[in-house]
């Protein structure tokens, strides 16, 4: 069973979320880009980089940050492409538009809905405003973007979709 955890840092109850407890996020649904997938729990690698799932189908939630629906920015990363060049779960993340809906289902069966606010491109490394604290709930989705660097085995940009909690 997943641990039952009360709202943290939350000054107000939010609609669409279990009244007293919030489960762990288990499913991500984004109809606009045909995403409906499992959410894995991710930490940080020794290099300081956020971990990602070892497959290109599931997405990874940054478990050291807020849960989706809690105050602050919950962060979920997904692969842009797979090991054999196949499409990743977030290949089409850049096709999201302002106002598109993102739904997270948690282990209690509750759903939280976010609305896309904007998309930004970052360089790899540390980024302001992505893993940030705030007094309202946000969801940030991350994938790769830009040009593939075979030596570094990395694309040269990161794409972040910023979404706000739908009251």
């Amino acid at each position: 069973m997943y641990e039952q955890v009360k709202f943290q840092n939350s000054s107000k109850q939010k609609q669409g979320v279990t009244e007293t407890a919030q489960g762990l996020p288990i499913r991500l649904i984004i109809p606009e880009i045909n995403v409906d997938t499992l959410i894995e729990n991710m930490g940080v690698m020794a290099t300081g980089v956020m971990e990602v799932p070892d497959n290109s189908v599931n997405v990874g939630w940054f478990k050291l940050g807020p849960r989706p629906g809690e105050d602050g920015s919950a962060v979920i990363a997904g692969h842009f492409d797979g090991k054999n060049g196949e499409k990743g779960v977030f290949t089409d993340l850049d096709k999201l538009k302002k106002g598109d809906k993102i739904t997270i289902k948690d282990s209690n069966g509750a759903s939280v809905v976010f609305i896309v606010r904007e998309i930004r491109i970052y360089d790899p490394g540390y980024a302001n405003n992505v893993f940030s604290a705030s007094e309202s709930a946000h969801l940030n989705l991350i994938t790769c973007d830009g040009i593939w660097n075979g030596t570094k085995k990395s694309y040269d940009k990161r794409l972040v979709v910023f979404a706000d909690f739908l009251l």
């Binding site: 990363a77 692969h79 842009f80 060049g85 970052y122 980024a127 593939w148």
Partner: protein, 415 residues
């Protein structure tokens, strides 16, 4: 003059020049400017002539007083730390009256200082060192960041005078919203003075260092932070969600000057004869937690009166700095810095210092933000293995089929 006298004159001159070299060459830092004597106003954070008004949650560290008009408004939401509200306790009490007299003396001291440089009215974006500054217009403004660089000498003094113009033309100090005064390389707010010959206005969220000595009034438009004092001779001080703490010098290294230059009447510069620490600290660990960073470093082994920590956004960046007094110690030294941005990576370094003689810097050490770096979610585009594997497989398959057909035909023809 006899030949003997000429020789004696030459030898004496040579010795004087030699002595000057002996004292000047090894000197580290020169402090050309002496502090403005604040006298009893030193204890005050806010001092006014025609009353003090406040809006919002203001915090004042230090004494408060106003004389001859002792009106105070909006003080229900003022928090006073380590200070006495003289106006509240006994309007026009003797302490305030004396401080007001001393304020005139301090003001005149500042305005009478000989100017070392006349600079642009706009101070934002500039970096200044020890000196007495005025502007051709008679006013000063800060939009953005003014950096005051003590160049390693914590006794460096910065005096800004808006007295060149006539008061009637409006000799003011005006800061834009969110403007800052940043102190680096040992500069201290207690050694910064703003002599304003009319009124000073601090834009919202200004971060000011230094003591304002205004002839008329001082106004904070909201949420400013002042590490210093607001001292108004004749007018009012207006506070608005202000945070003000009277600045005190955290380290007062002795300059051990070789000449009697402490007298204000003597313009000669003191010469540093302190001995600098011989070894550099080794900064080996930084623990970040929220907005705090705790630095752990090995101590310097000799000639120490303070440590100075410099930090910024890239290796070698010294845009921020803090010094603290310390004697010699054998164990690991730790020091905590507050008010960092939790999402920002900083680069720290530390050095010891002895009086006016700075020691060498430690290594630069990076302190990552607590948050992780953005993940790498790419495996790269199709690397070509599929493209050649499929045609190769098809080729092998067709070849095998052809061989089988040929063998079959050969079998049939043989039979």
């Amino acid at each position: 003059m006899s030949i003997f006298n000429k020789i004696r004159f030459l030898i004496t001159s040579f010795l004087i020049i030699l002595l000057q070299f002996v004292f000047i060459v090894p000197s580290g830092v020169f402090a050309a400017t002496t502090k403005v004597g604040l006298l009893t106003t030193e204890n005050f954070a806010v001092l006014a002539g025609s009353g003090i008004s406040n809006t919002g949650a203001t915090t004042i560290t230090g004494d408060i007083g106003s004389s001859p008009t002792s009106t105070e408004t909006g003080f229900g939401s003022v928090t006073i730390i380590d200070g006495t509200n003289h106006t509240s306790a006994d309007p026009n009490d003797a302490v305030t009256v004396t401080a007001k007299t001393d304020l005139v003396t301090a003001y005149d001291d500042a305005s009478g200082r000989p100017t070392t440089a006349t600079i642009a009215t706009e101070l934002g974006g500039s970096t200044l060192t020890d000196g007495v500054y005025d502007s051709a217009s008679g006013t000063f403004g800060i939009t953005g960041t003014l950096t005051l660089d003590a160049q390693g000498n914590s006794n460096a003094v910065f005096i800004f005078k808006t007295s060149t113009g006539t008061p009637s033309s409006g000799s003011t100090l005006v800061t834009a919203g969110s403007s800052k005064v940043v102190l680096i390389n040992g500069a201290q707010a207690c050694n910064v003075f703003w002599q304003v010959s009319s009124s000073a206005t601090l834009g919202t969220s200004t971060s000011l260092a230094g003591t304002i000595l205004a002839l008329t009034s001082i106004t904070d438009e909201g949420s400013s932070t002042i590490n210093g004092r607001l001292l108004a001779r004749n007018g009012a001080v207006t506070l608005n969600n202000t945070t003000i703490a009277k600045s005190t010098c955290t380290s007062t290294p002795s300059s051990n000057s070789s000449s009697d230059s402490s007298s204000n009447s003597s313009p000669s510069a003191p010469v540093c004869i302190d001995t600098a620490p011989t070894n550099n600290p080794d900064l080996f660990q930084i623990d970040r937690a929220g907005s705090k960073a705790t630095l752990y470093f090995s101590p310097v082994n000799d000639h120490l009166s303070y440590y100075y920590v410099a930090y910024g956004f890239s290796p070698g960046d010294e845009r921020f700095g803090v010094s603290f007094q310390s004697g010699l110690s054998s164990g690991v030294v730790n020091y905590t810095i507050n008010d960092l941005n939790p999402n920002t990576t900083y680069y720290f370094k530390v050095r010891g210092g002895n009086g006016c003689a700075p020691g060498g810097w430690s290594n630069n050490k990076e302190s990552n933000s607590q948050n992780p770096m953005l993940p790498n979610t790419g495996n790269g585009p199709n690397n070509g293995t599929i493209q050649w594997q499929i045609p190769f497989g098809v080729f092998i398959g067709i070849s095998t089929l052809l061989v089988l057909i040929l063998q079959k035909q050969r079998c049939l023809s043989n039979s």
